[in-house]
């Protein structure tokens, strides 16, 4: 063991530990990179892991981002991800905290993991990840295997490996050589095993006793690093975060705030904000959106792909790049456009590739998030618009006000005929439908927010009239009446429900806790959000640093249940 230089005590201790558990006397440490990074990455976990308080399954994007950050963007992730089921009126984030992995899902994770491992260990690639050369490429070499697996395992598991884990993965790599006769093949299998391990597929949040609250727990250091990283950047903790975790800096309020502040200022906040809004606005539904080719000849796969991206670009530009007020998101005239969307918006797009900023003229009916074709198209039927679906989406997603499901025995006999000469517009048809008081009760909640958007058809294209009849865009919200999308946007911007909703969602998104567990925290977050001018940076900073988010109540929270698979699609089409 004399090879280890005392100037690198951590490395010495750690690689020494590796050598001890493997019963080895020597290791080619002299080839180890001399940077602090390398030293930290060789450390093993010095203390026992804490009690597990949450298991949050990686989302598809988090998985992809993690692989790209750890192994580089050249490594392809190919496969089908088992979807995380969204609980009714909640986020996928909270579903992830209750999500299991089915046999079919694990089969896919296994095949993706082996595929990634094969790419990482392929001839040119592996040189970047290996700091040693095996003594014999056809024989086990535990020391060299450990030198590769310890640092990579630390990134994949978001904490240093334990001695037991190192021993286990090194043994896997060695045993496999007996079967496939290749040192690198053995490493590939061990790496594949890490990628299918629950330690990678789940973000495991663990806790330690909370000195400030007797009997309670608080998230431990490495869990905090993961929390910050997935919340703010939607990816795995980087070297700086892991080192901050190792030094316990994230355990004190000032250290945590300093780190969160730095991350919020980074341009990578964009990834976190995108992921948050894609979750809050149910963007998974875009994958299932279908439009009728005969009714909407302008709709094609390029348009379908551009719609969610346009919304995210608008959101990120306004909130992150311009550091805008969240409320102005509903009135802003700035958006982005690409060639595919030109015909839908009736706008000439000169750029043949990519996205260009676009600003609608003052007074244009098309403003704010709700005027984006993606929102309008997603909450429409396959062949026509739907004031009810749009109104319901605004209530549930942007105001956090769940709308009851229609009664099971509802009779739609009196409902609409889209080709009706007597009732050419949706408003007229809905009025007829709502002569039934049972229906009217809910439509009163949804329709006054959806009808103002009727000047946009089922793919979100502008239309002056419906079936030749003028469209009345009168709407009403919280006692104030208005006309059209512009009026609706202003009403949304001035409602406290709008900002309370996003504040509550941000807390749920950060913690994975269901809305009913947050108690009075939302109000506090909202107040802070208000004093900070409703900047998204302030909101994210707040939920990333508030002690409540890291505190675990003495009694374990009740297990949340997950929504039925077909729930969204099962109720959606029921509305006229």
């Amino acid at each position: 063991m004399t090879v280890f230089v005392p100037k690198r005590p951590r490395l010495a201790r750690v690689v020494g530990a590796v050598a001890v558990i493997l019963g080895l006397a020597s290791c080619a440490v002299d080839k180890a990179p001399q940077t602090a990074t390398a030293e930290a990455s060789f450390s093993l976990l010095g203390e026992p892991l804490g009690e597990i308080v949450a298991l949050r399954r990686l989302t598809e994007d988090q998985y992809r981002n993690s692989i790209a950050d750890i192994f580089g963007p050249d490594i392809k992730v190919a496969g089908r991800f088992e979807p995380i089921v969204r609980p009714a009126h909640e986020l996928i984030s909270t579903g992830a905290a209750a999500s299991t992995i089915s046999p079919a899902g694990l089969e896919q994770f296994d095949s993706m993991g082996r595929n990634i491992a094969a790419q990482v260990m392929s001839e040119p690639n592996r040189l970047q990840f290996m700091s040693c050369v095996p003594r014999d490429a056809a024989a086990p070499d535990p020391a060299c295997a450990a030198k590769m697996l310890v640092p990579i395992g630390r990134y994949l598991f978001r904490r240093p490996l334990t001695e037991g884990e190192v021993a286990s993965y090194v043994k896997m790599a060695g045993d496999a050589v007996a079967n496939n006769g290749s040192f690198h093949g053995g490493l590939e299998l061990a790496l594949g095993a890490m990628l299918v391990s629950p330690q990678f597929l789940y973000v495991i949040e663990s806790a330690e006793p909370d000195p400030d609250h007797a009997g309670g727990l608080r998230l431990d250091s490495y869990s905090r690093a993961s929390r910050l990283s997935f919340l703010l950047w939607n990816t795995t903790p980087n070297e700086a975060l892991l080192q901050a975790a190792a030094s316990k800096r994230l355990m004190d309020d000032a250290g945590l705030a300093e780190m969160a502040q730095r991350m919020v200022q980074s341009s990578r906040l964009e990834d976190g904000v995108r992921a948050f809004f894609a979750d809050m606005l149910l963007f998974e539904k875009f994958a299932e959106m279908a439009k009728d080719q005969i009714v909407y000849p302008r709709f094609n796969p390029d348009v379908a792909a551009a719609l969610p991206e346009q919304m995210l670009r608008m959101i990120v530009d306004h909130l992150v790049t311009q550091k805008g007020d969240y409320r102005d998101l509903f009135t802003s005239r700035r958006t982005f456009i690409n060639r595919a969307l030109g015909p839908l918006y009736q706008v000439k797009v000169s750029a043949s590739q990519g996205w260009v900023p676009y600003e609608f003229a003052p007074g244009d009916e098309r403003s704010g998030l709700l005027g984006q074709a993606g929102f309008l198209a997603l909450y429409s039927h396959s062949g026509r618009s739907s004031p009810t679906l749009r109104g319901r989406a605004i209530r549930e997603l942007l105001l956090c006000q769940p709308v009851p499901n229609p009664p099971g025995n509802v009779n739609f006999t009196a409902v609409q005929d889209v080709n009706s000469k007597l009732m050419p517009t949706a408003r007229m048809r809905l009025d007829a439908h709502n002569s039934d008081p049972v229906c009217a009760a809910c439509h009163k909640i949804t329709d006054p927010l959806g009808l103002p958007l009727e000047k946009f058809d089922g793919i979100g294209a502008s239309r002056p009239n419906e079936n030749g009849a003028l469209i009345n865009t009168y709407g009403m919200f919280e006692g104030a009446d208005f006309l059209g999308n512009v009026g609706l946007g202003k009403a949304m911007a001035s409602s406290p429900s709008t900002t309370e909703c996003v504040a509550g969602r941000a807390f749920q998104y950060a913690t994975g806790r269901a809305p009913d567990e947050e108690g009075s925290t939302t109000t506090a977050i909202e107040q802070n959000f208000a004093t900070q001018g409703y900047r998204i940076q302030a909101l994210f900073l707040r939920v990333a640093t508030m002690p409540e988010a890291y505190r675990i109540a003495p009694t374990p929270p009740k297990e949340s249940v997950v929504a039925m698979a077909a729930r969204n699609s099962s109720t959606m089409g029921l509305y006229p």
Binding site: R80, A104, N405
Partner: protein, 446 residues
């Protein structure tokens, strides 16, 4: 082109979508005297179980037979089953009491039939679906414990799972289903030679290594996450089993003919495309059964609140059931009924494909039990009593067929109980609250 068509060529034709019914004789040399066991190993011909789901029910007066018992009559909407009527049971007049819980449209019915429980809110399977419980008994020796498929896209279109946040996601792409079954890891059971793949052997031992970490994790767990971690390790165990199967020389299965590859196809809810995807995935699934790569399956033709569309129509199947006016002259909604007929057409394709594979003196269908059901009786009003259900196949002689069984308003959980018992699940009482029952449907038992 050669005029000599061997069995493989012929079947490939069928797999690529031509509606050709081909008999593939399972050579008697592989069966013992009575034709029910494989001669090579003495192992009995496997019995399979599967479900075939369609959404939005039927027009009850146009579908349910009048006559109870054998030789039931076939009305307009059920007439496509005529060629296989003697292998099909019609199950009607069972009830789904909700014990005061709300009728969640398009959810309560399907979940109730599969779990024997009325769910209180739209929050996932409350308990294991009974196909999973059957899989625990008959699905443990095959490469796949079960295969789930959705012909209408959406991997979440599935009624199979263990509850508690677990749902078996459905395969939606024909090409991906092909790759999963017949790609890497597939062993032709009829191949003369067998050498265990050392790579599989190595993977097998690696997975044991992952499994060994279970204890360390469990020691850190609170009660609430234990179940979820258990599910992970159950899934891992299944993956290990899958590799064990790949390492064992399979019994010859003469009905097994490896199909040709399947091209990438669009995945959407447009009815003609769904029909074609359903056909291709049916053919693949049938071969997965014939090759004994799985003994349990769940085919979802469309989803509960059917999102099926038809080119040129502004609304979906689901909306039609609510919004289309009842045609007074016809007595039903013609546009919505178009989709009911398509569902029945697809169902018949499915069982005919199974019946076309010969096994011994019967067919793959005879050695299977396929349970078909919807989630509503009459979609216009979301009724969930008298949901239309069928079985096809004789489960290797364990089930009487060709009957119309009327439940007389007894709980629908009797169906789940009966099918579990037929498939060998040791259960004598199943369901919760008013759906709890210990009364199997005796008419069906041999």
């Amino acid at each position: 082109m050669s005029l000599i068509l061997d069995r493989r060529t012929a079947l490939r034709g069928a797999v690529q979508g031509m509606a050709v019914a081909i008999g593939l004789p399972l050579l008697d040399i592989f069966l013992d005297g009575n034709g029910q066991a494989m001669a090579a190993t003495g192992a009995p011909v496997p019995v399979r179980f599967g479900t075939w789901f369609w959404g939005l029910g039927v027009n009850p007066p146009r579908w349910f037979p009048n006559k109870i018992g054998a030789d039931y009559d076939l009305k307009e909407e059920l007439s496509p089953i005529a060629p296989l009527k003697h292998k099909i049971n019609i199950l009607g007049d069972f009830s789904l009491p909700l014990d005061g819980k709300p009728n969640l449209p398009h959810t309560s019915g399907g979940v109730g039939i599969r779990t024997g429980m009325a769910i209180a809110s739209d929050r996932g399977l409350p308990a294991p679906s009974f196909d999973v419980l059957i899989g625990d008994v008959i699905g443990t020796r095959t490469r796949f414990r079960s295969l789930e498929v959705s012909a209408t896209g959406d991997p979440r279109n599935s009624l199979s799972g263990r509850g508690n946040g677990n749902l078996n996601p459905a395969e939606v792409s024909p090409a991906a289903l092909y790759a999963r079954i017949f790609g890497t890891g597939f062993r032709d059971p009829n191949s003369a030679t067998f050498t265990p793949d050392p790579a599989v052997l190595a993977r097998r031992s690696v997975l044991s290594g992952v499994n060994e970490q279970r204890q360390a994790l469990e020691a850190r767990l609170g009660a609430s996450d234990r179940q979820r971690l258990d599910q992970y390790f159950t899934s891992l165990r299944q993956l290990e089993k899958q590799l064990d199967v790949e390492l064992t020389k399979p019994d010859p299965m003469l009905g097994c003919v490896v199909p040709g590859t399947v091209p990438d196809r669009p995945i959407n809810a447009e009815i003609e495309n769904v029909m074609e995807n359903h056909k291709i995935m049916t053919d693949l699934l049938v071969m997965a059964l014939a090759c004994d790569n799985t003994r349990v399956f769940n085919m979802n033709f469309n989803n509960g609140a059917s999102s099926l569309t038809r080119i040129g129509s502004t609304i979906t199947h689901h909306q039609l059931t609510h919004e289309e006016v009842l045609d007074n002259r016809l007595g039903y909604q013609p546009e919505a009924t178009f989709f009911v007929n398509k569902c029945m057409e697809a169902w018949v394709y499915f069982i005919q494909a199974m019946d076309a594979v010969k096994e011994g003196d019967g067919t793959l269908l005879d050695n299977s039990l396929v349970f078909a059901h919807s989630e509503t009786e009459f979609a216009k009003f979301h009724t969930i009593d008298n949901i239309p259900m069928m079985t096809a196949g004789a489960a290797g002689g364990r089930l009487r067929t060709g009957l119309h069984v009327a439940g007389g308003g007894t709980p629908v959980s009797r169906v789940g109980l009966t099918l579990q018992q037929i498939m060998g699940v040791p259960v004598d009482r199943w369901g919760a609250e008013s759906l709890e029952t210990n009364m199997p449907i005796r008419e069906l038992l041999v």
